[in-house]
């Protein structure tokens, strides 16, 4: 039976198991929208295509499934660019479907025509220009296979209007994808695993660095078994948080520019680094020439292009992390790491109490202490999915909150996309309707996609929004203070009344200026069936500490100047 390309598109999505797409209609994608009513797929109408892309991203990160976003040609497609780049940097499986002008008009500067495959070429794993309905099924099937295989990432399928309207037979079986298979690495040879085991066995000060790859490959349980069996402590990158339980005795902490001092110092002291599914981002390594100077380095990574890109390693195992760990486990022996673990405990103790309750509130110049606000939220909602934006609140959140499960911290790590949190949280909530979902955003970032408050209302979604309002672009201001003579060029912002703004979109909203009010507001938001926004008015002068200046050595971190118990003089 012949069907239109538009109908075939929805059938392909259904057969790929898609339950929800995030999108925004427009001229060149209208045939697809016209055919949508015959489909079982739920459509979530965003208020901006960037929002739709982040929703699909949040959906994918929360569920591990492929997120799907739909947009029209031209401006609709270019509005996806930031969302695609965000997903590309953080290896998020996404399929973007865009309408395109009719094939007869391609290249003619037709109304709403943009060379979308050209524009998105460097920010997608691959993209397709579909000009005939026969090309649809092969493109969609390969797009899904590619998005989720190997190192996941976004794939875009640009479909001309005439390809959506013309008819053909759907040949699903004939469209089975194979090309992505040639990019999957062969299984790591046993000889390489034996080399790794020998290197691990010779170590006295081993350390695991857990990245996003742990979650992406479903290697959390294998990682835990590995660390416990060999008695190796675990540090996490931003996107690695939650891949290893933060309350586990072997969990060391968050690493990198704003990581805990003992974690970064442990990296510099270790004699073996096991880098699992991470890519040595510059926010993690500091100066790469002085990173982990005493360590033998083993890198387990599925993307060969990441091996040796920033840090030279002694052994690279290119493959699926879970598979590699599970194959290493039977021959993994406990290491004599007692002295090392004791040394790390001592280092931790030197940096102050580990128990949140034992911390005195940090001195604040005005308003709430942002860290105290986050501690309240952690204490009230220990099992929530936290979707953070970008900036100071994101780093405080990573420092303060105890992520014990994978996919409970959703944040834009690699690209650092402001405006990510609210739409990504909408996607996360649709992926995990049973979960409590919180947006944590700054006053700057929330304004970058605040239009999506209306999507919350239209879709009847319950989540809570914490706006950490310090009246300034906090991280920018912090860098200006620390590195640019405190010249606050364009960082202070005049803000809308966030309570009125949220109310205009039909959300409940309140403002908290004291810790008591903050606690009360968090409890009210949790018990309310309606989505609720809380504006926390916080200290505009607070900085994220410690901070390793860009390009400095990990041991050269700057500490909170007001702290009574500063870093030991090890730098």
């Amino acid at each position: 039976m012949e069907q239109t390309g538009a109908t075939i598109l929805w059938q392909c999505l259904e057969r790929e198991g898609v339950e929800v797409v995030f999108g925004y209609p427009g001229g060149a994608i209208l045939p697809a929208y016209h055919a949508m009513e015959k489909s079982s797929v739920r459509h979530v109408l965003a208020r901006h295509e960037q929002g739709a892309a982040h929703m699909a991203d949040g959906y994918a990160r929360a569920s591990g499934r492929v997120g799907v976003v739909l947009a029209t040609s031209g401006p609709g497609a270019t509005n996806l660019v930031t969302g695609l780049a965000t997903a590309m940097m953080d290896s998020v499986p996404l399929v973007a479907i865009t309408g395109q002008v009719s094939s007869t008009l391609l290249g003619s500067d037709a109304f709403q025509e943009v060379d979308v495959t050209g524009v998105t070429l460097p920010i997608t794993k691959h993209n397709y220009l579909v000009q005939r309905p026969e090309q649809l099924a092969p493109a969609i099937r390969e797009a899904f296979a590619l998005a989720k295989s190997g190192r996941p990432g976004p794939v875009l399928v640009d479909i001309t209007k005439d390809a959506q309207m013309a008819s053909c037979e759907l040949d699903w079986e004939g469209a089975v994808p194979t090309r992505h298979l040639r990019h999957l690495p062969p299984e790591v040879p046993q000889t390489e695993l034996d080399k790794a085991l020998a290197m691990i066995g010779a170590s006295h000060r081993p350390l695991i660095l857990a990245g996003h790859g742990v979650t992406l490959s479903g290697a959390g349980p294998a990682l835990r078994a590995f660390a416990e069996q060999a008695r190796i402590p675990v540090a996490a990158t931003l996107l690695g948080l939650g891949s290893f339980p933060a309350d586990h005795p072997l969990f060391l902490g968050f690493m990198g520019m704003h990581g805990s001092p003992w974690t970064n110092l442990a990296i510099q002291e270790a004699d073996l680094i096991l880098a699992f599914g991470m890519r040595f981002d510059d926010r993690v390594t500091g100066d790469p020439k002085t990173f982990a100077p005493h360590a033998t380095k083993i890198h387990v990574e599925i993307d060969r292009a990441e091996v040796g890109k920033i840090i030279a390693v002694d052994l690279a195992l290119q493959g699926d992390l879970r598979n590699v760990l599970e194959r290493l486990l039977p021959d993994l022996r406990p290491l004599p790491s007692e002295d090392w673990l004791a040394q790390l405990e001592e280092l931790k103790a030197h940096h102050g109490p580990q128990d949140d309750e034992a911390w005195p509130p940090l001195p604040v110049s005005n308003g709430l202490g942002p860290i105290e606000v986050l501690r309240i939220m952690q204490q009230e909602s220990p099992d929530a999915i936290w979707v953070t934006d970008v900036g100071q609140h994101q780093m405080w959140q990573a420092q303060v909150m105890r992520h014990t499960l994978p996919r409970t911290l959703i944040t834009s790590g690699g690209l650092g996309t402001m405006g990510f949190a609210l739409p990504a949280a909408i996607g996360a909530k649709l992926a995990r309707p049973d979960a409590e979902v919180w947006v944590v955003a700054g006053d700057g970032g929330i304004q970058m996609n605040s239009q999506e408050f209306m999507t919350l209302r239209q879709e009847g979604i319950k989540l809570n929004v914490a706006v950490i309002n310090n009246g300034t672009l906090g991280m920018v201001r912090q860098w200006q203070t620390l590195f640019y003579d405190d010249n606050r060029a364009a960082s202070d912002m005049l803000n809308p009344d966030f309570v009125l703004l949220a109310q205009a979109y039909g959300l409940k909203a309140t403002r908290a200026t004291t810790l008591e009010a903050a606690l009360e507001a968090v409890r009210a938001a949790r018990s309310s069936p309606e989505p609720m926004l809380i504006e926390f008015v916080v200290d505009p002068e607070a900085c994220v500490y410690p901070i390793i200046p860009s390009g400095a050595r990990l041991q050269d971190m700057m500490h909170e100047p007001n702290l009574l118990n500063p870093a030991p003089g090890r730098a």
Binding site: T117, G118, L121, P122, K125, H126, L129, L146, R179, H180, R182, H183, D282, P288, D303, R304, A305, V307, G308, K309, I310, I311, A312, V313, D314, A316, Q318, S550, G551
Partner: protein
Amino acid sequence: MFRILIVTTDNEPGVLDRVASTFRRRGFNIHSLTVSPTLDPAVSRMTLVTDLNAKSPRSAKAFLERLLNVHSVVDLAETDSLVRDVALVRVAAGTEQRPGLFQLAQIFHAEILDVSPDSVVLSVCASPERIEAMLESLRPYGLLELGRSGAVAMPRSSSLASAPVTGETIEDAVSF
């Protein structure tokens, strides 16, 4: 230092763009590039000569291998290889200069394609080094115009095995 990469790809629209983009975004220059179908018309073969300087050729190869359309990448620096380049060169030469010029052409196995009253067009298919040597010999006559195909290459042995991963890194990583 020039590196020659043999890249085999799907023969479909946009592949050249993807390959070129991989080099462009990392600031690698493409010195020469030839593309043509292989014995299998669905597969294209690119011979890509690049000036990688301090940047790692290993990473260029790995970034190319990440592309869906790329079947394989072989770095000819790792094997003994055969390289040929075609050059067309227009040389200033009146009647008096021609005998000497024709002698040089013979030495370099160059073909005389065209003779005008004041110039001669030679064509040669040789290794890039030999073409450079010929151009140097011709320079005293006056070189008027040069067109080159760019290198086409293949390994001397039939094995296209790729080498194991080593720990080369991008030098002088920029931070901000």
